[in-house]
Symmetry: C2
Subunit: 198 residues, 2 copies
Amino acid sequence: MLTAMAAAPSERADAVRNRQKILAAAARLVAAGAAERLSLDEVARVADVGVGTVYRRFGDRAGLVFALLEEQHQLFRARVVEGPPPLGPRADAGDRLRAFLHALVDLSVGQRELLLLAESSSPPARYLSASYDFQHAHAGRLIAELRPDADAAFLADALLAPFAPSLIDHQCRVRGFSPERIKAGFDQLVHGTLESAR
Amino acid sequence: MLTAMAAAPSERADAVRNRQKILAAAARLVAAGAAERLSLDEVARVADVGVGTVYRRFGDRAGLVFALLEEQHQLFRARVVEGPPPLGPRADAGDRLRAFLHALVDLSVGQRELLLLAESSSPPARYLSASYDFQHAHAGRLIAELRPDADAAFLADALLAPFAPSLIDHQCRVRGFSPERIKAGFDQLVHGTLESAR
DNA sequence: GAGACAAACGGAGATTTCTCCATATCCATA
DNA sequence: TATGGATATGGAGAAATCTCCGTTTGTCTC
């Protein structure tokens, strides 16, 4: 469980085929609105594959959903690592951090459904995923550059914590926050709006 | 589901009795180390009650676990509302906010097991609970007092987000953060350590 | 090609969560 | 204290997640 799934060194042809079939079936079901209650039995049935195969390929529900999210995360990662500033390199750390948080807001709001599904399948999986590792490392680097004496590892966790899918969803649906308001909120947080506290 | 359970205006005597038996059984099982995999069937069996009764009383797993946490939260709430400063009233807002966050660190670390269980039962339940409402309102009030022009509702969510049980657990177990380090991290966050970002 | 071995498949079934409703229990009223 | 109706009970069973393992399929070697 909680397995991150990258194609192993040499994966048999039938395994690759089935991985595709399962991902396609799951994507189709999610697109069809069966997101909230996505049953792996049903995925297997639609993919025309045994349930055991789904579990062998993806470990558990969370693994399957993370695999579905993987493509978007690769794109995001590429924009951060080699895209144009201010998200990509060659902007100063402050601007990059701001752009990074804003982009994450859009990503989190846009993928809300799948992210919620992943979280409900296994809340701790987020912190064990390659994608969180990347986000934490990137934010940590920028913070360390801005403030060499701060606890960058903690602050990176703290800045990423509000992207927990259920909180984003709660803010959007219950509190009625717009993505712009959330972005502005992060600006305030990062700009030391609370500084007088003490 | 996600039901917050306060004793209804007039609850029948057998209902009250069974509520107690179930809570006692659940507490006993958790204390006995069966926390990670606490089965409601087993709770029912130990409480000598039908499964249906457990669900009627508590709605679902999350409801039962929140009920187990309730007592601690009442105590915490009382300390905040009418305890001695700096956590209680009659300290300035900055000191109260700091004390509040520090106390929450201790509470979150101390109740880690039960909180994880609650989160894994239903991640969004946290944001719908009376206890989160209280924390959000309290932090929001203090923030508004410190910075009347800030978005207190968002910032309160953002300051509470790092208390997500799976993050706290990850920081304690995987990153090896001590409670003191987490408290110091919150101090940096609140003191505007990141301010030069921009 | 044929054989051998590892890898993958599939689906029966164990486990768990939660629902439903026929039955049992409580209690307000008279 | 008898009674009627609202409330609560309990366990069978529906639905979902995940495991286990006998069988099948790929792939590597000769």
